[in-house]
């Protein structure tokens, strides 16, 4: 286990670069999917408003 973490004394650089990559990719996914959900909800609300306004 220690050998795996140490990675021939380069462990700190290797694990940091993998962790940063996973964090950035994960962050991008959360941000983009979160925005999608928010905009979709807003659009649905506005469409409902438009329909009720045109029917009244």
């Amino acid at each position: 286990m220690i050998e795996l973490l140490d990675m021939g004394k380069y462990g700190v650089f290797i694990w940091t670069s993998y962790c940063i990559s996973i964090a950035v990719i994960g962050g991008l996914m959360v941000w983009i999917l979160g925005q999608r959900k928010k905009v979709k909800t807003h659009l649905r609300r506005l469409e409902a408003q438009t329909i009720s306004k045109t029917s009244s």
Partner: protein
């Protein structure tokens, strides 16, 4: 041909089935590529285990350039043919490209320290990648600073097209100037210089990054098209008044 592919309705139909496929391919490619890079591939005879950083650094660097090429081509189509969807695609690619360029720079610095003894050197490859990062930031800044949406789109498209000159500089920087950065070792006229046992996880990770980019760009374009729809609906509800001028580029939606 551009009109066919630029129709937002056709795009939505395409995105509906393509996005989940790209999402699965992307995540699977990254998990397999990273896992194999960390645990399966042998250590390099010169760099030892430090060479395992190739599986996070190189796909990010490739994608940084690929995303910019996508941004520049989309900007050209948007600028010349005024296609709404091409403009949305360019806008969608910019933050993703910036994030992958940031990753390439950061993982490169982490690889550089044990190999070169420094996190950063003003080497041609590193400097041209930093310029690429600033080009992405510049593109996004133009889009958010200029208040008129149509003008912002055109100015940003010009920025993106001019910045494309940096792509061949990145590619050939290691050949044109003396560089600490190693020359191209995968795409070479005489074949790859990397052994297959180390090459396949790199290709799988690169494919995963590219598919992930494709998926996230599709989702971003869908969000941008919905945002523009919201703007039109808000204008309709407000009786024609809008706080920010709508993009007057050719709009092919039927609503």
């Amino acid at each position: 041909m551009f009109s066919y592919f630029a129709n937002p309705e056709r795009f939505q139909n395409l995105a509906k089935w393509l996005a989940p496929i790209l999402a699965v391919l992307g995540l699977l490619g990254i998990v397999v590529g990273f896992g194999a890079g960390l645990f399966l591939t042998p250590a390099d005879y010169q760099q030892g285990d430090a060479a395992r950083m190739i599986y996070v650094h190189v796909p990010a660097a490739w994608l940084a350039s690929f995303a910019y090429a996508f941004l520049a081509v989309s900007s050209l189509i948007s600028f010349v043919w005024r296609h709404n969807l091409a403009d949305a695609a360019a806008k969608a690619a910019a933050p993703l490209g910036a994030a992958f360029t940031f990753l390439a720079l950061l993982t490169g610095a982490l690889w550089g320290k044990p190999m070169w003894g420094a996190y950063w050197v003003w080497d041609a490859r590193l400097t041209s990648m930093l310029v690429l990062f600033f080009l992405y930031l510049g593109y996004m800044a133009v889009r958010s600073i200029v208040p008129d949406e149509a003008r912002a789109a055109r100015l940003a498209a010009i920025t993106a097209m001019v910045g494309a000159v940096n792509l061949p500089i990145i590619k050939f920087s290691v050949d044109w100037w003396n560089s600490l950065h190693q020359p191209s070792s995968v795409f070479r006229a005489d074949g790859s210089a990397i052994d297959w046992s180390m090459l396949w996880p790199l290709l799988v990770a690169a494919l995963g990054y590219t598919a992930l980019f494709g998926w996230l760009v599709l989702v971003q374009i869908q969000t941008e098209l919905d945002r523009r729809k919201i703007h039109r609906l808000q204008r309709r509800l407000a009786g024609g008044r809008v706080s920010r001028p709508e993009n007057p580029q050719r709009n092919l939606t039927n609503d």
